[in-house]
Point group: C2
Amino acid sequence: MMYQTAARKHTLALLKSERRYLTAATIYHLLKPASPKLALSTIYRTLEALREGGTVSSRVDEHGEASYIYCGEKHHHHAICKQCGHVDEVDCDAIDAFTTALLNKQSFRLDDHSIEFYGLCVRCN
Amino acid sequence: MMYQTAARKHTLALLKSERRYLTAATIYHLLKPASPKLALSTIYRTLEALREGGTVSSRVDEHGEASYIYCGEKHHHHAICKQCGHVDEVDCDAIDAFTTALLNKQSFRLDDHSIEFYGLCVRCN
DNA sequence: CTAGATGCAAACTCTTTGCATTGCC
DNA sequence: GGCAATGCAAAGAGTTTGCATCTAG
């Protein structure tokens, strides 16, 4: 299982080089010129396989469209610029302080696998 | 503009009494028995109007489905229990400390209208 | 009376699935 | 050669829209 096919190599290479959230349609349009027979459904299946394997993580935007980002090995969180799409990894000290405060003051146990932030990155400020 | 119609009264009353995130379909099925001619598209249009007016806020879940919650007047944030759906308002001191840390350490200006948290509430812990 | 709201059905977008074919190992 | 992956097209789910009708103010 998990053959090393052209579609998978290209999809992963693109995600690794972009390092930002890409929709299935975006990936499809970026890869299509070099692979004319590529199907969108293959992109979806590839992304699902990568997500299950933990290589990429996904999110759903305000219109309900999913996008995917290369995530490497270690777990971390994202701060996503609403203007340019740049993704910062969020400092863990800040997260820890915040989750501790939330748990202490409100007894809410934050699941740190589901945190996501939006705002303006340093360049768009 | 913004007539006081039955559909709007019932939708808002339901959201006010539930105080948790409801999908358009859920609202539709809850109101349908008492209003047999009610259309799902009317719910969508009503929710969009309420959202624009700031009376409700919306989110999109991991499957891309939108849901809506009554938000009253003042702005605040939500901590959503992944298990029971209970919504806590998040303490502002904790948010402020966190956003300050994020801005200072990473120059990321968190847009506080887009924060959303997931985890386990006090009862589900 | 009249602009705005509604119901109904069709259209749209994104995603998933069935199935015959292809191609990696 | 065998089984996973692919392409293609059709089906799904949620949401939006066009249009004739209805109704709150």
